[in-house]
Every structure is written in C-alpha cells, then in structure tokens.
Symmetry: C2
C-alpha cells in the first residue's frame, strides 16, 4: 500500500498549491525486506532532525547528506504497525512524505506498516473484503449530528435475510472514530478472521466517543439511546444481548466498562482494553457498586480486561480486575507484554473477535 | 464539528502514548462569529512561528505569551474551507490541535471551516445524508488491490428497484481518494443539492488516481477495465453513457479529459477542473487528435472546462479550451475568480452536480 514517488513535474501539483520549494523525490518510510526501515526528511536549513517511534527505546538522530536529505536506518523491527514522528529542531511533526497519518485530535504522527514474512492478521490479504461506511446520526442526547463508522462483513446485504450480531468498538481518549480502522485495521482483522472461519460475520460500529467538555457522562446515554437505535433501524441486526458486544481502548476501555456493566441486560460481551477508569462517571457508577453478581455472571457470556505489563495503566488495571473479582464478577484477565499501544490494541481485538458471538 | 478541549487528565491519554510535555488546553483554530479566526500553537522553545493559509496574501507572524502559547487572529475571511499550516522555526507542519488534516501525499496541512451566516452548500445541514463507503477492488490493469470511496445517496438500497447514474470523480496530483470528501465535502454537497431537488440522486465514485512511477498512462485503462466493472457489478447503476459522468481536478482534470474524450461512447458528461495536461499520456492522445467533431458533439451532453483567473494553470487551460474549440468540439468554459484551490473545486463540483444527468 506504500506509494512510491519519482521526480516528475506532476508532483508539483499538490492539491491546491504549488509547493514552495522544489525537493528531491523522497521515499519515506522505506521498509526493507529484513524489516529494517529507512526514514527520510528533506531540509536544507534544519540543524537537527530526530526520529521518534514506538519501535524505539529512545529517539535516534538522523544525519544530513550534502543535498539536505536527512535519513536514518533502524535495525529490523518486529512486523507490526507503528506510530512515529520527526523532531526537527525541537518541533515534532508527521513525516510529510508519508500519506498515512495517525487519526488523532492531539498529535500528528505517521504510521509505518512493517509486513510479516507471512501476512499478519491485520494485513490486506487476498480475501473477500467488507465495507467501511461513514455515516451521520443525530444524537438527541448530545444535541448534535455526529459521525460513526460501520463495518459490514463480506456478503452483507441490507435487505438480505441474514441478521448480524454487532460489536460497538470505541477508540482511545484523543483518538477519533477513524482510529480503529486507520491505525487498528479493525476492518482488515475482521475480513481475515471471517475468511478463516475464526470470527463470525458481524457488524462493527465505531462511534466518535469523545464527549467534551465533561469527560464522558453522556456517552453511555448516547450509545444506548441514539447509536444503538440508529444501527438497529438502519441495519439487519440481531437485537438480543447475546448478539451485542462492546469493546474499547484506554478512555474507551473505561467507557466500555461503564456502558457494558450498567447495561448487562443489553450486552453479553464486554471487552475492555487497558481501561482508564479515573473518570468522574466511572467513580460515580462504581464506587459504591453492589451488583447482583450471580445475575450479572449469568447475563455475561464474556467479560475480559486486557492490558500489557509495560502499560502505564498496568497497576490501575490490575486494581480494576481485583475490584471486579472482589465483587464476585467473573472477569477474564488477558495480560500480555507491551505498553499502552495500538500494537496491543490489534492483538486485543483479534482475540476478542474470535471469542464473541460463538 | 470543531471539537473543543478542556484541561482534563483524560487529554493525557493520547492514543497509544502519554504526551511528553503537559501543555495547556489549546483551541485552534477558533472561528469567531464575525469570521475572524484565532490560531494557536504551543511551544516554549520556538523562536518564530508563522501562519500560512490560503485565506492570506502572505504569511503572518504569530506572537508568544508568557506561557509559551503562540497565537494570531486574522481579520474576517469569506466563509469557506481553507488549508493552512504553521511554520515553526522554518519547519512547516499541520496544526497539532486540529483534527482535520488535508488528505494529501506530499504535505501535511490542516483545514479550517468558516461557516456562512446561512449554511453553505458544502456544510453539514439538517437534510437526509448519504453514505460514504470505503471499498477495495482488484485492479487487473495495475496488478494491485486498490481503494476507492463510493457515495450512495439518501434512500439508496443495493437491492432496491432504483438504478442510479454514476459520477466518477478524480482528485488532484498529490491528493488521495479521500480528498474529495475530506476537503471537498463532495458527499455533503451532494446531500444538500439532492435535498433541494437541484441534483439527481446519484452515485459518486472517488478512486485513487495516482499511478506511479509513470504519470498516468494506465489510469484510463484502470477506470474503464477495472473500476467501472467493479461499480456496475456491485451497485444498481444505469450503464448507458447518458448516465455516466467523469470529473476531476488538476492532474485529475487532465485524466478526466483523457478518460472522457477517448471514451465518448461511455461518458456523456465530461467536467474538467483546472486540468493539468502537460503529461505524456495527454500529449500522446491529443497532439495529433482528429476527432469526428459532429459525432463527439452528438455523444456529449456536456463538456465543461473550469478554471480560476488566478490559477497558475489559467493560461494553459485557456489554450486547452482554444484547442478543443479549434477541433470544433463544443466545450463550455466556466471561468471564475480564484486560484488552483479546493475552494474553487467545491464551486466547480456544486455546478457540475446541477448540470449532469438532467
């Protein structure tokens, strides 16, 4: 999917403007067959250019050739999709030559896709592909028109006889409704697992979860009163709790716990990834929470909390797990290596898709 | 649609990483009711921060307060959607606090949407909305799996009785398949014009038009042999030439001329926006072109070439128009003010949608 460039006049016809400075054709990032990667950045004037990436322990310096092209090649990394950025004289920015930008509200980073020797579960493979639809819905709860993405599986027909289970999948705190597809490859993971018979054909709804200025008191209401009715009136879906799941990462993992555990009659699957739970709503709902554990355990077919041991939320997440265990709620911890990253998000989602709607 | 921020711990949970530097909550860009705009950027270390924007004649300096927050307020601008960027100590970058990034392969700029006092034709309005679908198709011509976006109008049903006309809409030279929706708001323009009865319900196909390393010799083949068959086998569409249109901007405007004029049996509507025609393929196909003008004029229901008088391609485009007129091909020039911009693209598209498939 990486697009290559060459030095042609056409390149000067950037969308809407002629580039101010003619620059050499730049291939960045260039992923080599041994999984080493070369990053390049053009600047005649910069004094210092540094590479930051989630495949690095620490930033590395890039060096400049006589033409003004800065570059560095990093040793082979484990195949995965990684965020990275350049720091040019203390200014952090996305790689201008890389089309793939991390969908986020607070930073602009690029992503590099290092393919496996065998195709990874998140890779574009030669299997039937579902669609990702960009939709608008009216949120009466929030008083606005909002966006959401809907993945429909291969063979999906709106007016066919098949009705589908639905996973509601929520991004992290400063991410957007696009992060699960653009960075998490949720659609490709679903395509690949469905093709292998490892996941059931399902609809995946990816809403925009950020509700500000208050952290998230109204998002549960938006999901229950606006998003679910929108989905159920526009798509042929199964509407019992055993065909409805909720999952999410970070702040979205906290929202997942709130949405799911305050609505166990509606969601039989709750999958929380590295949840952030130090929010007003979570505290309000769970500080003095006295659930009927036997009833909840009967309603839930799966309740997982996933986290990496290097995640900065590892300790609080362990406390969350202990909290639910103390309340006699059956929770399945899924502890892996790694940090608070979208590399782990893909792993968590791949696991979830194989466990829900069985 | 602009998202507001406030200073909350949740903001530190950026997707996949804790922000390295705590920074104040930043609202940028802030569009004021009088259409002036405040831009903000946080850096304690920067020596100079400059704003560039297509609403400006020349870059303007931003100034720093004691906390390290740089800002500038620009006087009221005409309501529209504009690209802009910051230049921080000579490094150009997108506004880190603005989610909306210009979809492009060569630069990273942000976009600011200045709403009109009355809703503009490209604004999200309270009308029925179509869907934008992200699809993969196999290009036998190019030997790869490629992406395209498909707009389906409100009320669209795959297996309904209605069959739709199709517009193939191509982006500029370094843009992507997302630029027509993300920057050009093609879907919202269609929603609004269809709601008013000013455009026919139609399907709009937005392919990825960049074919490299050769400039575009194979894209016409890809459209004719791969994209059209994919669309016609997956959507209920009308397949005669009077229900098929092609339009595009800049390099995509050149591709439009090539695709349309070498296939006048297939496209009755050809709408070229600020075309770039100094490409090998265009020269090859049109240098010694001797069309049967009477036949072509009978086949084409509409052939327009649009351009702004401040466009850097204005003179070559006028030559294109003269060239076709000399060949006795009936061409409708559409000359407006403004430059080689996506502000003009939206204007051109809004005009086209009201003129095709009548």
């Amino acid at each position: 999917m990486k697009r290559l460039y060459c030095l042609l006049p056409v390149l000067l016809l950037a969308g809407g403007a002629v580039l101010a400075q003619r620059q050499p054709s730049i291939n960045s990032p260039e992923v080599h067959p041994d999984h080493s990667i070369t990053f390049r950045y053009f600047s005649r004037n910069a004094q210092q250019v540094e590479l930051r990436g989630e495949f690095l322990q620490a930033p590395v310096s890039m060096s400049k050739d006589t033409s003004g092209l800065w570059s560095v090649t990093v040793p082979p990394v484990a195949p995965d999709i990684y965020p990275y950025s350049f720091v040019v004289d203390n200014v952090e920015l996305a790689d201008p030559n890389n089309t793939y930008v991390f969908a986020n509200e607070r930073f602009k980073r690029s992503i590099v896709d290092v393919p496996g020797d065998q195709p990874l579960v998140h890779a574009l493979q030669n299997v039937p592909h579902g669609k990702v639809q960009y939709r608008y819905y009216t949120s009466k709860t929030l008083g606005t028109t909002r966006t959401l993405l809907v993945y429909t599986p291969p063979g999906f027909q709106v007016s066919g006889k098949t009705k589908y289970p639905v996973l509601y999948l929520i991004h992290g705190g400063s991410d957007t409704e696009e992060t699960w597809t653009k960075v998490g490859h949720a659609n490709l993971i679903a395509d690949n697992l469905i093709a292998k018979g490892l996941a059931k054909p399902m609809i995946i709804v990816m809403p925009y979860g950020n509700v500000r200025p208050s952290p998230m008191p109204d998002f549960t209401k938006d999901v229950i009163n606006d998003i679910i009715p929108f989905v159920e009136s526009n798509y042929p879906v199964l509407t019992d709790s055993k065909n409805r799941a909720v999952a999410g990462f970070s702040v979205g993992g906290g929202q997942t716990l709130n949405i799911g555990l305050t609505n166990t009659d509606k969601f039989a699957y709750i999958c929380s990834y590295a949840p952030y739970t130090a929010t007003e709503e979570f505290q309000k709902n769970f500080t003095n929470w006295s659930p009927d554990a036997a009833k909840v355990n009967k309603q839930l077919k799966l309740f997982t909390i996933s986290v990496g041991t290097a995640d900065f939320l590892y300790e609080p997440v362990k406390k969350n797990i202990a909290f639910f265990e103390e309340k006699k709620i059956r929770v399945k911890p899924y502890i892996v290596s790694g940090g608070h990253t979208w590399m782990n998000c893909k792993l968590f989602l791949s696991t979830t898709l194989q466990e829900i709607f069985e």
